[in-house]
């Protein structure tokens, strides 16, 4: 079995994980009090109205039938129709996934770059004031609740300084603050391991050897050392992805972006089962695939790592 066999087996293994995620969310949602039809029709709905709609959305069947029906539809690529919006779930997601993707990726980009740069500096100047400053600022951002940081940033840069527009996705300038909020909050997760790994690597013999043979210092750090700290960084990237997606929910709401995060929140509040289930399924698949991708990238970066089952 070669690499492709490994990938296939890994992919097969994701199926029970993904099904588990949907089953748990399905049960949580259905055991939370609150009826989607009653919420939709408001407090003044008649029993007949409620019954008609319940039948329409198949909510009158027992739970296990509802779940199995849903699962069967998913296997046929049918994500169902939103109760609240009366539109196909996939269409709702399609409309918004780009926004969430942009926010997540730009946030991750800032956190990785900033985290790496600060982590390297901290390692090179170990125990200096610069090192302490890097640690301090990383802890500072990570300790502030995301929504509060978002509002404060909007207040300073949007309302007081008028550098960026307030709310909405209206071009490049409107992306900066939301990405920065996510970036700063996540930055510590990359700065700390970067510093620790860098310190370890810099003490290795091959670094001394490289320097002894006259390689420029910046080249030693940038090429020789950096390459060796990439693995833990990629692991971290895959591990942090779900958290970044979760963080973007809050950021989207404050910045009025209306991506998948706010769709998810609204759908949970409305008990819009098909949408909540659909989005969580997509997120679960994304996270599992990201982890798989990270594993595959390891072997590209470090030839010593072979994927499981590969040639020794």
């Amino acid at each position: 079995m070669g690499k492709s066999g490994y990938v296939v087996r890994r992919l097969l293994r994701t199926i029970p994980i993904v099904i588990g995620v949907t089953l748990v969310t399905f049960l949580i949602l259905h055991f939370t009090p609150g009826d989607p039809v009653r919420i939709m029709l408001g407090p003044y709905a008649t029993q007949e109205n409620i019954a008609i709609l319940k039948e329409q959305y198949g909510l009158d069947h027992p739970l296990h039938i509802q779940y199995i029906t849903w699962l069967g539809n998913i296997l046929q690529g049918e994500f169902g129709t939103s109760i609240r919006y009366n539109r196909p779930v996939l269409e709702l997601v399609q409309d918004r996934v780009g926004i969430t993707l942009m926010l997540t990726l730009s946030g991750l980009f800032i956190s990785v770059t900033l985290g790496s740069v600060l982590g390297i500096f901290a390692a090179l100047r170990q125990n200096s004031w610069l090192d302490y400053l890097c640690t301090f600022q990383a802890m500072f951002w990570i300790s502030i609740p995301g929504f509060w940081l978002a509002i404060i940033f909007l207040y300073i840069f949007g309302l007081q300084l008028r550098w960026v527009p307030i709310g909405g996705l209206t071009g490049f300038s409107s992306v900066i603050l939301p990405a920065l909020v996510i970036g700063l909050q996540e930055e510590a997760w990359f700065a700390r391991p970067m510093r620790a790994e860098m310190l370890g690597v810099l003490n290795e013999g091959y670094i001394s050897a490289a320097r002894a043979k006259g390689v420029k210092y910046i080249r030693v750090v940038g090429i020789h050392a950096l390459r060796n700290v990439m693995i833990p960084m990629i692991t971290m990237l895959a591990l942090r992805l779900p958290w970044v997606i979760a963080g973007s929910v809050v950021v989207e709401v404050v910045f009025a972006w209306g991506g998948m995060g706010s769709l998810l929140v609204n759908s949970v509040l409305a008990r819009d089962f098909p949408v909540v289930q659909g989005i969580l399924l997509i997120i679960a698949i994304t996270v599992v695939l990201a982890n798989l991708l990270a594993d595959l990238v390891y072997s590209l970066i470090d030839p010593r790592i072979r994927v499981e089952g590969g040639k020794k």
Partner: protein, 512 residues
């Protein structure tokens, strides 16, 4: 170190260059709403925000004048008449009105709209208002005659198709799904696009028959977070925000140099405490409810949450309306009387109970917390329970909440919505804790049959007096609604009226 400085400078410069905040231009008004309309369907919508948007796209069948009487002004009818003890209503439709796709609006469209509300399968929450229609008859292309099964003076208030005349041919062609994606009407603005999660854009309709809009484009922007919406308002990124929460409204009003203007109007709405009056509940006993009513200090509540933005209630119909019950018992604060009533009911030392409010409604939660403090003075230990909205609807309707904090809006001009739920046969009756008084049932039935206005207002007075003696609910206050807007926006004075409301007349707005 130099690199960090350099990096941060680059970052700041990028922000400065990119951050050219475009100021609003005169041909567009941007309106901030907190909730995104779920579907633009006049038959089924539930949220006020959808009503705002559809209000500009569609034209009303009939409107209400400042004095609370029905009128053809700004409506698609030229005139209307009510005959045969109120059982026959005839609408004469204006000629020359066009839908946004160019089709003429005729009586066929009005008939179609009525039939859509009557169609059970379309699932309108207003469906039952239309069950009293016996016959809908077309008299030529521009006259429509409705025949009711019996006299019902509340019919035009409740069953005037929610102010939206729908295009029959278009809907038959594209279906309801197609309509929701691209709604058309005969109103001053036509639908351009709905960017999910972001905004709904409308554009001036050039062939509009009525007052020509002075502003070319209307954009409804969704700001789920209130503080973001307020900052957007202060920077001019949006021009108008309807129904601003009272405390924020007062804060902004007190901020000098904000560049904002403020307007208020009274609304057909009351805020009240409801009781579970079922037999197994302690509040089944009217004396206990009266004790609670005497113990609540409404003025303290208003000062806490609304300041100038509310009027203490007496009965349920707001004081600007002729059906306002001046004689109803308002239960001014009287702790002694409250204690005495508790003693008579057999609870001299009070009792423990719960008071529910929906989570996320800050104002209501603050108020029930204050009520908790007030009730403690007569020995009632009321635990405050906040539950998420969906759960709240369930527990209050199922009688699991002994006391709960409600808000109720009624249609205009007939205030039947305020008293209707007291009728033992009303489907709302159990939702607000079950109330059963044969005299009240009788009076409400009589209200529906009484055509003479003054006679009818008297019946309203009576029914409120009785229900207040029973404390069927305890009304707290009538709110004032506050809209905040760009001071360069001109909104005519006459729109600040409970029967008009500015956001439904954007075509009357202009920039100075």
């Amino acid at each position: 170190m130099r690199k960090i400085v350099f990096l941060s400078m680059v970052l700041i410069m990028v922000m400065a260059f990119a951050g050219f905040v475009s100021a609003g231009d005169d041909s567009e008004v941007r309106i901030a709403v907190q909730v995104e309309p779920s579907k633009l369907n006049p038959i089924t919508y539930q949220d006020t925000e959808t009503g705002f948007v559809l209000g500009s796209i569609c034209d009303p069948l009939i409107t209400v004048d400042e004095d609370g009487s029905f009128s053809p002004n700004n409506a698609i009818i030229e005139r209307f008449s009510v005959e045969e003890d109120g059982t026959v209503i005839t609408f004469v439709i204006r000629r020359g009105i066009k839908f946004h796709n160019g089709d003429p609006l005729t009586a066929h469209d009005v008939k179609f709209t009525y039939e859509s509300f009557m169609d059970e399968n379309l699932g309108s929450p207003h469906h039952r208002y239309y069950t009293g229609i016996e016959d809908i008859e077309l008299v030529g292309d521009y006259i429509l005659r409705l025949t009711l099964e019996e006299t019902d003076v509340t019919f035009l208030t409740l069953a005037r198709i929610r102010g939206h005349v729908l295009p029959k041919n278009y809907i038959e062609e594209v279906g309801w799904d197609g309509y929701e994606r691209h709604p058309i009407g005969s109103g001053p603005y036509k639908f351009v696009e709905h960017v999910p999660g972001s905004r709904i854009v409308l554009e001036k309709f050039d062939d509009y028959w009525g007052q020509e809009p002075s502003i070319d484009r209307v954009e409804f922007r969704f700001y789920p977070e209130l503080s973001t919406a307020i900052m957007a308002l202060r920077t001019g990124a949006v021009d108008f925000m309807p129904e601003m929460p009272a405390d924020e409204f007062m804060d902004l009003e007190a901020t000098p140099g904000s560049g904002l203007a403020f307007g208020t109007y009274q609304k057909m709405e009351d805020h009240r405490i409801c009781f579970n009056k079922r037999e197994d509940s302690i509040f089944n006993d009217a004396r206990i409810r009266q004790a609670v009513a005497y113990a609540i200090d409404v003025n303290e509540l208003i000062a806490l949450t609304r300041g100038e933005m509310a009027v203490p209630a007496r009965g349920r119909v707001p004081s600007f309306h002729p059906a306002f019950a001046e004689e109803a018992n308002a239960y001014e604060l009287n702790l002694e009387k409250a204690r005495q009533l508790l003693e008579e009911a057999g609870y001299p030392d009070g009792f423990e109970t719960e008071i529910f409010a929906p989570a996320g409604y800050r104002e209501r939660i603050q108020e029930v917390q204050q009520i908790q403090v007030q009730l403690a003075k007569i020995g009632i230990k009321a635990e405050v329970v906040t539950v998420e909205w969906g759960t709240y609807l369930d527990v209050t309707a199922d009688g699991e909440a002994p006391m709960f904090r409600e808000r109720w809006s009624a249609g205009v001009p007939e205030p039947i919505g305020f008293v209707e739920s007291w009728h033992s046969q009303s489907s709302w009756n159990p939702i607000f804790g079950v109330y059963n008084n044969p005299k009240v049932d009788e009076l409400i039935d009589e209200i529906r049959r009484t055509i003479d206005d003054n006679e009818r207002w008297k019946l309203y007075h009576q029914v409120q007096e009785i229900a207040m003696d029973d404390v069927a609910d305890y009304p707290l206050y009538w709110p004032l609604v506050g809209d905040v807007y760009n001071e360069n926006l001109h909104i005519p004075e006459e729109l600040w009226d409970p029967f008009k409301i500015p956001i439904y007349y954007i075509n009357h707005w202009s920039f100075k």
